[in-house]
């Protein structure tokens, strides 16, 4: 019989990734709906970090320890987490949908003959049955997914799906259970993480961002957006495909692999709004979207939208703003 919910708490170089607290909030909510206890799982060389999560309302914290867990590798993490799951036989295992989780959790789930219900945006528990909702087609569709079959259900939640500050704190500190786990051969050797040469532009400090996507069609057309940016005293930015094509340097990229920004005004030109882009800008004050496709997901989070050809809209908008500014 399966019991309880496990939630994975991620850390990097001794610092807990705050997205983990969102996963804790998700797991607590699931636990409350199902009447099940939530236990946090921290992997590491020692128990140092486990003590940082004992303040949450949890049945306990499992600190799975092995010297091989000092540096992250998918082999060591999958081995260690597998031991924890086999020992505790949880009903659900909840993760934040981070790059690290994407790297090892599918391997873990595969050892139980299944995949992850990955990148969920919400869930609903009714009468003991849980429906997970995830985005399909780069955010154009939602899908309700039901997990079936025996054993643990492994699910990951998208950043922002739950709020970390709503993770419940507990009265007494949750007890830490240190477990020495066996880890087999580790077949990859990590070097120290690094940042590329410091970004030349810090888009997090700017008030106005004009962002371009595939709809801009060619590098020459960027001048259109540039002109609007200059007029508004803003900076130009882009979605990933534009930087991949080399039309703008990578330090102009907004999204999960680029910068996360929250300017006063964000104007998205020809950006469809894939999840990876939205997570980087959805907290902007006012969001404007110009796109030919009325169903583009960018409109889901836009305050103002113009469905139309950006090559008509942008020159007209530039002209109108020029008039307003006198």
């Amino acid at each position: 019989m399966s019991n309880g919910i496990l939630v994975f708490v991620e850390h990097r170089q001794g610092v807990i990734n705050k997205v983990s607290f969102e996963a804790v909030a998700a797991a607590q909510q699931l636990g409350a709906s199902l009447g099940q206890e939530v236990t946090a799982v921290v992997l590491g060389a020692d128990a140092a970090l486990a003590n940082e999560v004992t303040g949450f309302k949890l049945a306990g914290v499992v600190s799975a320890e092995n010297p091989k867990l000092a540096d992250y590798t998918p082999d060591a993490y999958a081995d260690a987490f597998e031991k924890v799951v086999r020992a505790r036989e949880p009903q659900y295992v909840i993760f934040p949908h981070t790059y690290l989780v994407r790297d090892f959790a599918p391997k873990l789930a595969a050892r139980f003959g299944k995949g992850l219900v990955s990148d969920c945006v919400r869930m609903k528990a009714e009468g003991g049955a849980v429906t997970f909702t995830r985005r399909l087609f780069q955010g154009k569709m939602d899908a309700d997914v039901v997990a079936s079959g025996g054993g643990a259900v492994f699910a990951t939640f998208q950043s922002g799906a739950y709020r970390g500050d709503q993770a419940e704190r507990g009265g007494a500190a949750a007890a830490v259970e240190s477990v020495a786990v066996e880890v087999g051969e580790v077949r990859m050797q990590p070097e120290a993480p690094f940042q590329e040469v410091k970004a030349a532009v810090d888009l997090t400090k700017t008030d106005v961002i004009i962002a371009i996507g595939r709809g801009i069609k060619s590098q020459e057309n960027i001048a259109l957006a540039q002109k609007l940016a200059e007029l508004l005293g803003g900076d130009i930015a882009a979605s990933r495909p534009i930087c991949d094509a080399g039309w703008l340097p990578i330090d102009r990229q907004i999204g999960s692999s680029g910068q996360t920004v929250a300017p006063k005004l964000y104007i998205a030109l020809g950006i469809s709004g894939a999840i990876q882009h939205l997570v980087g800008m959805k907290n902007a004050g006012t969001i404007v979207a110009v796109n030919k496709d009325a169903e583009a997901p960018i409109f889901d989070i836009a305050d103002y939208g113009i469905v139309g050809d950006l090559f008509e809209v942008v020159p007209a908008l530039t002209e109108e703003i020029q008039k307003l500014k006198g």
Partner: protein, 256 residues
């Protein structure tokens, strides 16, 4: 060196999607399809590795007959041959089932390297490569943005979040999932297109039936709920929309 590249055909990025009659998937009849973006980069990286190290590039693809267009395009760009696991009913399959089918299709070939895109643009589970690696007993690295195989050792640069990166030295054989943008993708030449006609495409049956041992089922597909009330401006008239927008940005949102 024998390099396998896992490729998937997905609906066009610009496709307007409609929910199918049974509410469980999208209507595929009126869609056009293309190669999954990051799989295209995985192919490119495979071809570059072959150019440096010699050997062959083999495409493995699971999908209905229409997926042949992705395979033929890959052969025209320089892949040497292909295995097409033909199945009409895997569009909604979970990541484990898809990975199982692909792993069984290439297991007997004993690849030196397997490359895949980091996730699909339709289902977007982002797991196929990692599960294939587990099923084949290979070490893996995900979200790879650079591959250095100039010496005997395979070194890969992984993308972490927020502009951080990390190099890993991998034991081989290994599986890598490739991030879009790792390199510029080549075009197929006329010569390549002609040569592709003579290349082998072996058809195979999936090792398991669709739905067999499935642990996640798509119950319902629908347009996402709006998170914000968007004011749509201009009503199709670009000039009018631009004028209304400028006015609203100044007087309503007060941001310009």
């Amino acid at each position: 060196m024998k390099i396998f590249v896992l490729m998937k055909q997905v609906p066009n990025k610009d496709a307007v999607l409609r929910v199918r009659g049974d509410g469980k998937w999208v209507e595929e009849g009126d869609l056009s399809f293309e190669v999954n973006e990051s799989d295209g980069y995985a192919l490119e990286e495979s071809l570059r590795l072959k150019e440096k190290k010699g050997g062959e590039v083999v495409v493995a693809c699971l999908g209905p007959q229409r997926a042949k267009s992705v395979i033929k395009d890959a052969l025209a760009r320089g892949a040497d041959r292909a295995i097409h696991v033909v199945a009409d009913d895997f569009a909604q399959a979970g990541p484990f089932a898809v990975a199982k089918v692909l792993a069984e299709a290439i297991r007997g070939e004993q690849p030196d390297l397997v490359l895949a895109g980091l996730q699909s643009d339709d289902q977007g589970y982002g797991q196929t490569g990692v599960i294939v690696a587990e099923l084949l007993g290979l070490p893996h690295a995900t979200i790879v943005i650079d591959v250095d195989y100039s010496s005997e050792q395979l070194r890969v640069k992984r993308e972490l979040e927020s502009g951080w990166y990390q190099w890993y030295t991998m034991q081989t054989p290994a599986l890598l999932t490739i991030q879009s943008g790792i390199s510029q993708i080549r075009y197929a030449t006329l010569k390549g297109i002609m040569a592709a006609k003579k290349k082998e495409i072996r058809e195979a049956q999936p090792a398991i039936a669709a739905g067999e041992g499935e642990f996640q089922t798509v119950e319902r597909v629908y347009l996402p709920l709006k998170q914000k009330q968007t004011q749509f401006l201009g009503d199709g008239d670009a000039k009018k929309g631009a004028a209304q927008l400028a006015e609203k940005l100044r007087n309503e949102a007060r941001v310009i």
